[in-house]
Subunit: 212 residues, 2 copies
């Protein structure tokens, strides 16, 4: 299974390096790959870089990891037809920092980013995942003896099973929150954590759903 990234920011870099280390072939897509030269040199032989279109073409699973305001243009550059039939993992969060902190939450119930991405890619299997935790813990969800919980959402059970296995490779406990409409709550969970992180100065945190 090959993994593509549309987007090459901090989160994409952490995940790409993490998957490469697990043995996956990874292509990270950027509008400008020249800025990735140093990082690529350190990321190992399983990682290559290319355009958004090349990363979309390359991946069996494609991670959408761009600022939410750039989602539409990124998908146009990638070419939606290249994502047909594929699993698209949507990591985006609707945090609007334009009016200061804490960031505003820029979507409403029934119109979450996960749902917007699924609507833009009707022939892809969109899974909301890897959005509710920071880059510092994305590939290392163990806290002492505790394993953090990773909620995912999407309409296709097969796609969710694949994404679940990918997250489990890093050690996450993965819970299926439901269909893509539940993305709204995963996006809100990200804001709860980010806002608390800004306030507390604590970055290495993640949620665990305790049960008894």
């Amino acid at each position: 299974m090959k993994i593509g990234f549309i987007g090459s920011g901090a989160v994409a870099q952490v995940l790409a390096a993490g998957f490469a280390e697990k043995g996956y072939e990874v292509k990270i897509g950027s509008r400008d790959t020249t800025k990735l030269a140093d990082w690529l040199a350190s990321a190992g032989e399983n990682v290559s870089a290319g355009t958004f279109a090349e990363a979309a073409e390359f991946g069996d699973v494609v991670f959408l990891s761009v600022n939410f305001a750039n989602t539409r243009s990124a998908l146009e550059l990638a070419g939606k037809e290249r994502l047909n039939g594929k699993i698209v993992v949507d990591l985006s969060n609707p945090m609007d920092f334009s009016k200061g902190i804490p960031p505003a939450f820029a979507v409403s119930y029934g119109n979450s980013l996960g749902e917007q991405v699924q609507a833009a890619l009707p022939d892809s299997h969109v899974v909301k995942a890897f959005n509710s935790m920071g880059a510092d813990v994305m590939t290392s969800p163990i806290f002492g003896g505790e394993t953090a919980t990773h909620f995912i959402a999407g309409n296709d059970n097969g796609a969710k099973a694949t994404v679940k296995r990918l997250a489990e490779e890093f050690g996450w406990e993965v819970l299926d929150a439901g269909d893509i409409g539940q993305s709204f709550f995963l996006e809100a969970l990200a804001s709860l954590w980010v806002n608390y992180s800004i306030k507390s100065g604590q970055r290495e945190q993640a949620f665990k759903l305790l049960s008894r």
Copy 2:
């Protein structure tokens, strides 16, 4: 410190009995106290029942624990002036079950229930708390060796400190999410859990924010 409850449902009963057991005097307010007779007989001598107005008058801290659709009428019955200067703990959640499950989320960012209650009670100190967990864990947040996390939000630091101490009496780890605007995310957190609980059938669950 005396504690009043506007509302007498399952959550109010669990909390009222819990606070009474800790030695607080509690008055639980209902539109119809006759239905509470059996429960009152079992709840111990620290618990009494009365109207919404009597419970509001009684409490130094008053818990608002009614279905969100009934909040406005409940506050009218209680008499807003009786809550002036007091701490009002808002437990409500904007879950709309009218179109089936999972319930719809009935507020938008910037207009959460916590903010609506604070706007309705400008001379009270509203604290959003005790909303993001089920009645089954409300007064017992220990899971094996783990302590669950209780997020609270509100504009008044003194009021939040009081509510924090009340939650800590049951053993919660209490984190201050910020001003009352952060209620939106606490309400979304409740929906994430309730929707997952409906889907999984698991009721005794609560979130913990892991740190390292």
